[in-house]
Symmetry: C2
Subunit: 278 residues, 2 copies
């Protein structure tokens, strides 16, 4: 019996995203829980998720979860705001392992951080349209005033590498002016790409506005969840070479290069799978 429990405890954590953005969440998990193994899946054949429907994103998430289950993961993190917003509650129903998204952790931190109760959320069209950040924040803080703003151009600008560029400044400034005018004192970076624009957003919003990165908070929530479920792995069990495994639905080599630039260690290999078959 003890042996079985140990093999479950030492199983990897499944992490998925529409593409590379979720690597910022994987990076936080690696930093905070260096002994845990990770199976990462990026849906690069169907990226982006932010401008697609709830039905479609839920169907995609179910396929990915079926794939991750074939890899015997002990828990799953939806490292994508849009999929967390649209699919988490649906997929939770028929899942027998713990699963969490990035929204709750971000919302909890925003509630802790705000002084004036005015919280801004930036995200994809899907995340903002779902209104989920507002719902979760108001459950905890009914008096909160939550303002969401969809920023659809920020993801392509980041993916083009225009992190410090006058065009990105101009576009970000247009998106953020609405939230500035509402005097939010806390801003949730509600898309995994946005932490890469942190310095630009900080400068535009001003020093007094607290920026919340759900990736960091999600890793803390994951650790607490694994502790509660007695699922923390035994130190030193995972072999370094197989500790982190990467899968995508397209363009494995491009992913490998990007992942190596985001994560603390070199990624050797990414495997391509046909996710539609799951």
């Amino acid at each position: 019996m003890t042996e079985k429990i140990e093999s479950i405890r030492n199983a990897p954590i499944g992490v998925f995203d529409s593409g590379v953005g979720g690597l910022t969440v994987a990076r936080e998990i690696i930093r905070q829980m260096p002994d845990e193994g990770i199976i990462y899946f990026g849906d690069t054949a169907r990226v982006p998720y932010g401008n697609k429907s709830k039905d479609t994103i839920t169907r995609y998430s179910r396929q990915i979860i079926r794939f991750l289950k074939t890899r015997q993961v002990k828990a799953i993190v939806i490292a994508c705001n849009t999929a967390s917003a649209y699919a988490l509650e649906e997929v939770k129903k028929d899942l027998d392992i713990p699963i969490l998204g990035v929204i709750r952790a971000g919302a909890v931190s925003a509630v802790k951080a705000t002084q004036n109760g005015k919280v801004g959320i930036i995200g994809t069209e899907g995340t903002i349209r779902s209104g989920i950040y507002e719902t979760v924040i108001k459950e905890m803080m009914p008096s909160a005033r939550v303002s969401g703003k969809a920023c659809p151009l920020l993801v392509p600008l980041v993916e083009e590498g225009l992190l410090h560029d006058s065009v990105t400044d101009e576009i970000a400034s247009r998106y953020l002016s609405e939230l500035k005018a509402k005097y939010v004192d806390t801003l949730v970076l509600g898309c995994t790409h946005y932490p890469l624009l942190r310095s630009t957003i900080k400068r535009l919003m001003g020093e007094d506005v607290t920026l919340i990165n759900p990736a960091y908070e999600t890793a803390i929530e994951l650790k607490a969840l694994l502790e509660k479920e007695d699922l923390i792995c035994c130190p030193g069990v995972c072999q370094p070479q197989e500790k982190y495994q990467f899968y995508v639905s397209d363009l494995a080599e491009k992913f490998t290069n990007f992942a190596s630039s985001i994560l603390p260690q070199q990624v050797k290999e990414t495997k391509k799978i046909d996710i539609e078959n799951y």
Copy 2:
């Protein structure tokens, strides 16, 4: 026998794209062949195609062609530059009806238009990486000097509606400066979204540079092909309400609104299908 041939002649033309861009091709077909029926498919659940691999785009194209065949189309137009570049030659092999893409027609026009033999191509990463415009142009004009430039941000800017905007000007200007420096006298708008930026591109390139819109040329090529194959429909056969049928893999209502703004008539309905099942 005559009756069977007539029913084939009167069958609709299948047109597909990764999303809404191919509607500019459908619009040209409607203008030039007002009697023909059209079945349009937009792959809105997996859009965009421009930054995905040849294998993936070919697999998606095969699924869509299987779907269009269930609708008894008499011919197929790949109204997407990336899918034309990557998949046309592959899917042609096992198809028993005529199929054409948008590349050849654009290349033929460019060769006709150029005076100095210097031709520029703008398109998605996939289209430019494939080098297909250069290959096809050089088959016809071995002395041509063809310069390709991938413009990945133009599609999201168009989809955000920033058609006349300082940011779009700045980004387009960066992309086009390289081609201007090469003194191209002809520029192929090698992505179905780009004709919507025609006036900006014209202003930046200058009056002396001829812009080629493959949508227009493809409709001419299609008409010639249908005539050659004796597949022109009998006038007045298609009922107006079912003459143009629209299918997508996601967000049918959003598509209906966009299509109505592009096409000469109101689109009443778009049906959503699960393309992964084909």
